[in-house]
Structure formats: C-alpha cells, structure tokens
C-alpha cells in the first residue's frame, strides 16, 4: 500500500474536496445576495399566476432569477442542465410538454403560434438566402393541430409576388371560422416600401383565398421615415377579434448644439377586424402614443401607459365605442428605468426594469383599483451600480 501513496493521496484529496464542495453547495444553497419583496399595498396572493424572469447585476453579482407568485428563486445559475430547461420561454415550454411531436422542429417565436380550445396553429415563412443581398423563395409553412382528434393539417404555399419582397416574417397568426390569417411584415425589394400584409387561408381546402395590404411604411427620405409595429396582444397566441398596427413617423432633427436626434412625430393606428375583414383607421390623438411608455391591447381596448411625477397614468381607448378613459396608478418607484407591461382578463401587470429596484404593480382596468403594489430590493449595502433587468412577464 505504501508504494501507492501518490495515487492514493491524490485520489482521496480530489474525491473528498470535490465531493464536499458539491454536497455543501446542494445542501446549503447559501446566498449572501438577498433580494426581498417589500409589499406596499395589497396581498401577495394577487401575484399568483404571474411569472417574471430576469437578472440582477452589480459589480459582483450576476444572477438570474425567476419570480413565481411573488417568490424569488435564483436559477441554479449558469448550471448547464438548468439552462437547457430554461432554453425556451415558459409558454413554449408548456406547448412542448402538451404537444411534443407537433412542436418538434418549429421556430420558437410565439408570434407564429395561435391557440384556442380546439386547435393549435403554426405558421412560418421559410426563405432562402441568395448568397448576396436578399432572401428568396419565400414559402408559407402551415401546420394546424386539431386537439380533440389529434389530427394535423399541414401544407405549404409559395408567397404570391415574392420577387417584390426582400425579407418577410410572421407577426401574428389568428384562426377564425376555419380560416387562418397570417399577418406578416414584408420588407420590399429595392425601392419598394415595407408593408404589413394579411394572408388568409382556408384550412379545409388548404388554399390561399385572399391577401391584403394593411399598412405601408414608406421611408420618405433619410431625414424622415416611418416605423411600424404590431400593438401586441396579451400573450400572442390567444384568439383576438382585432389586430392593431401602429405606424410612427420619425424625423431626424438638428438640435441647437448641432447634434442630431430622432423625434417621434405622431403615430397612426389601424385596426383590422377578423370577422368583417375590414381595416379602420383609429382616431387616436397623436401625442397619446408619443408620451406613452408602453401600449397593449386587452380585449377590444388599447391601453397607453404613461409615466408621471406621481406614478403612472393609464389611458384606454375602446375600439368599439371609440371612448377614451383615464386612470391614475401609483407606481412604487421613483427610479426612471424601463417598464414591461402585460395583461390578462381585466388586469394589467406592470413591472419596472433596468433600474436599481424592481417595482411591481397590478391594476384592475375596469375599476381602476390598484390590486397590488410591491418592490423588490437588494438587502444590505447598496452600490453605485446595480441593476435589475427583466426578460419577460408570463401570466398564466
């Protein structure tokens, strides 16, 4: 035995030290970094069904976390196995768990999915890089799962007039009365403008039945142009009656210090109704969106969230009766960071990010009542540089 002391000592030390290290780590789960929730008003129970994922960073810490129903848990940071489990966002993970074979090989962007009680639909535009400057051979890939019968409708179709488009991607998918609508953003070839379009397919015959241009974003010149976006629906997979697009005019202006700044010059909104297939230009005051931090649709109402000295102002615009409404909400942070807003039913969930603290507010949009207010902070010494950043909010 004595002859083998080198082999034995190295093996013993290695096994003991490495073993102890990992066992200790697993048991103790020690954390000198403490992030705690101070409730300002309301019950923590209101946070049920809400999942926030994000990270905390400062000079020393670089920790990712998930807050589920108000309980913050650090992701087994950086563990490779853990990162595989968090590879997709929660909604995609749920879809994979429920429909493993349908979801296989699909693009994991939620914009391409639609889900209701009966079916789960997916649409994608597949293009090929021509090797130089643009994509070509744009091709719709459509896959619909009928949940009850577990049957699939799968077909492909070439995009009409595809030589006109340099690149296109799917912004939203909706299904109504056996018709699947794909909303796309088409970047025009050469001088052609960027366009938002809708393509309607009949699922029974697997045919494209109509297409329409919804909005044209023309870059008038290099000083003035348009930017467009889809005013997001609450979770991007749910059925909706209206799909709303926004187009903002941007202008580059010179300041008195001879610096250039980009200014928003007002936004136009267009709503597309899925039942009537009609588009309506909405009569929304230009400054409403310029002053807003966020906007989102719940049901048939658009909510504009603005930051004020006291907290937040939520201005609602009803698509059906064109009524505007305003309510004030306390926001438990003075820190001017970013904000992420999500909604479900008649509740708005507002979370602050990119700031030293992480404030959370839940508002009932019908009564205007603030249901919950709280704020996550680092306990103990606070440094000059510290940051909460939020990846996304998921509402079950």
């Amino acid at each position: 035995m004595k002859k083998y002391w080198k082999l034995l000592s190295i093996t013993t030390i290695a096994v003991l030290a490495i073993g102890t290290f990992y066992i200790q780590k697993a048991i103790a789960n020690e954390n000198s970094l403490e992030l705690a929730l101070d409730t300002v008003s309301g019950e923590v129970a209101e946070l049920k069904g809400m999942e926030i994922s994000g990270g905390y960073f400062d000079n020393y810490w670089n920790k990712r976390f998930t807050i589920t129903a108000g309980e913050l848990e650090f992701d087994n940071n950086d563990s490779f196995i853990g990162s595989l489990e968090r590879f997709y966002q929660p909604k995609i993970n749920q879809l994979i768990n429920d429909h493993r074979s349908f979801m296989r090989g699909k693009n994991s962007d939620l914009a391409g999915f639609y889900e209701d009680e009966q079916l789960l639909a997916y649409a994608n535009v597949d293009s090929k890089w021509d090797g130089q400057s643009r994509y070509k051979d744009h091709n719709f890939e459509i896959d619909v799962l009928q949940k009850g019968e577990n049957e699939r409708i799968t077909f492909e179709q070439k995009v009409p007039n595809q030589q006109d488009y340099r690149y296109m991607y799917v912004m939203d998918v909706q299904v109504q009365d056996g018709q699947l609508s794909i909303f796309t953003r088409n970047e025009g070839n050469t001088d052609a403008p960027t366009e938002f379009r809708v393509y309607r397919f009949d699922l029974a015959s697997e045919k494209l039945i109509s297409e329409d241009s919804l909005m044209i974003l023309d870059g008038m010149n290099s000083k003035k142009w348009h930017e467009g976006n889809l005013v997001t629906t609450s979770t991007e997979t749910e059925p909706t009656e209206n799909v709303v697009f926004a187009k903002t005019e941007m202008e580059e202006v010179e300041t008195e210090y001879e610096e250039y700044m980009v200014e928003e010059k007002g936004t136009e909104y267009v709503a597309y109704n899925l039942s009537t297939m009609e588009k309506t230009e909405l009569d929304i005051p230009a400054d409403l969106s310029t002053d807003s931090f966020n906007e989102l649709i719940l049901g048939s109402t658009i909510y504009f969230i603005q930051r004020t000295e006291q907290g937040l102002t939520v201005i609602s615009y009803n698509l059906e009766n064109e009524q505007e409404n305003e309510l004030n909400v306390d926001f438990p942070s003075t820190d001017q960071g970013n904000m992420i807003v999500n909604g479900k039913g008649d509740r708005l969930y507002i979370v602050g990010g990119d700031s030293k603290e992480l404030p959370i507010t839940i508002v009932d949009v019908n009564t205007g009542e603030t249901l919950y207010q709280g704020i996550y902070k680092k306990k103990g010494a606070n440094g000059v540089y510290q940051l909460f950043s939020i990846d996304n909010i998921y509402i079950k």
Partner: protein
C-alpha cells in the same frame, strides 16, 4: 488490474516534482496575493476615512466591499491556475514523447511489460485526469482558508463573506474548472477525458507511421470531432432545431462515449500491431 494501478502510480511519480512545484506556487501566490490586495484595500479605506472623512458605509458604497471576488480578478489568483492548465496540457504530449526521446528509450521497457499494452495508454490518461482533479481540489481547499485569512486582514465593516460556491459562481471564469452542478462537472470532465483519448490516439498514429502518421493523426482528430459534433453540424445545415435540447444532450453523451471507445480501440490496435520504437 494491479498492473494498471502500478502504472498510474508510476506515471504520477514521474511528474510529481513538477506537480508539487505547481501546487506550491498556487498556494503561495494566492495567499500572498490576498495579503497584498487586502492591505491595499484597507490602505485606501483608511485614507478615505481619515483624510476625506468618509464613513465606512460611504466608502463601501463607492468602492464595493472587499471579498474573495476581488482577489479572483487578479493575476495572483488566475496566474497559477493558468500555469497549472498549461503544464497539464503540455503533459498530454510530454507523457508520451518523453518515453521515446528521454534517455534509454524507456517506451521499449514499458511495452515489454507482461501486461496488455492498452494499460499503458489508460494509465497515462488516468494520471493526467487525476492531476487535473488534484489541482481543482487544492483550489477548493484554498477558498475557505482564504476566507479565514480575509477575516484577519479586513475589518467587518468592509468585508463581504462568501461561501466557496458563491465565489465560484460570482466569477464566471472559475466555473470552467468548477461547473455549477455535479452533473455539469461530470459532463465537462467527461468531455475532457474524451479529448485526452482523441489526442493520445493521434499521438500514437504519429508514433506508428511517423511523418505520414501526422496526417493520419490530424484526419483522426477531424473525424472524431466531426462525429461528436455531427448532430449540431447537421442541424446547422438543415437550419431547424429538430431535436429538443435535452435530446441533443443525451445524443451527445452517447456520441462522446462512442468516440472515446473508438479512440481506445484504435489505440489498442496501434499499440499491439503498428507501434515502432
């Protein structure tokens, strides 16, 4: 089996002096480094308190607390780790070529031993793995020691005491040697062992066919890497992620085992049939 252990012990012995020196440098450099870094921090703190009338809390809020993470970002800490890594990488080649180019062609005696020749190959690989794990273990033992030392050197108001695991996860570069979980550890070091096997077999190609063998060795490395990474390469070409992440991991583990086993098998063939002294 006893032959194999004897060979491992023997291989360890041949590198042991140099190994001891590396361990010594690691311990010395990290402890001295901690002393230097702590003192310079306290010097700055004292200056701020007595000359600029700052409170300890103010100083901490401007400069951050003193913790082992400050030490980990210095050359005192990283230097010896890099030294160990380079020495052991070098040893992957040295452990073979020394036997040919050292005095009295030692490989001749090794290959004549009344045991399967593949034991020589396995023993050399084991000795390298053990030395890597030994260095990692030394680092793990050093962390709590440094933690205690820090308590002597820096007063409570300025100190952030961290558990060893926190020091590691607070400093991402350290996670290369100590991944976050035990499964990660096994995966990372398993991949390391596979790399050692692949390189060893390439070296044996060169030792068997000399100049031509360099080409064979390079082809073998490319082939082994290609097989191991084939699912990832294939998905890249097709452009869709057909496999879910967990499935990909399982497939990679299987391929890793296949590549390792193939390396040992090829090495066994070369050692018994083709090797030249």
């Amino acid at each position: 089996m006893m032959r194999y252990f004897k060979l491992v012990n023997f291989e360890l012995g041949r590198f042991f002096k140099l190994y001891g020196v590396i361990i010594g440098i690691t311990i010395l450099s990290q402890l001295v480094g901690l002393w230097v870094v702590s003192n310079s921090y306290m010097e700055r703190a004292n200056y701020a308190m007595f000359e600029e009338n700052l409170s300890p809390a103010q100083f901490v809020s401007d400069n951050g607390e003193m913790s082992l993470l400050v030490l980990t970002r210095t050359l005192w800490f990283l230097g010896p780790i890099a030294l160990g890594a380079i020495a052991l990488l070098f040893n992957i080649f040295f452990v073979w070529y020394r036997d040919w180019f050292g005095k009295n062609t030692f490989i001749y005696r090794l290959l004549m031993l009344p045991t399967a020749r593949i034991n020589v190959y396995l023993a050399k690989a084991t000795s390298i793995l053990l030395m890597v794990l030994g260095l990692v273990a030394i680092q793990i033992v050093l962390l709590p020691v440094e933690s205690v030392l820090l308590k002597w050197l820096v007063t409570r108001d300025f100190r952030l005491d961290l558990a060893p695991a926190e020091v590691v996860s607070g400093f991402r570069e350290l996670m290369i040697i100590l991944p976050a979980g035990i499964i990660d550890f096994i995966l990372a070091y398993g991949a390391g062992i596979m790399v050692i096997f692949i390189l060893f077999t390439a070296i044996l190609f060169e030792r068997s066919y000399r100049i031509k063998g360099i080409v064979f060795g390079a082809i073998y490395v490319a082939l082994a890497t290609g097989i191991f990474l084939s699912p990832i390469i294939l998905e890249g070409i097709i452009g869709t992620n057909y496999l879910y992440p967990m499935e990909l991991l399982v497939l990679e583990i299987i391929l890793g085992l296949i590549v390792s086993a193939a390396s040992i098998w090829v090495a066994n063939y070369l050692l018994t049939k083709r090797i030249t002294v």
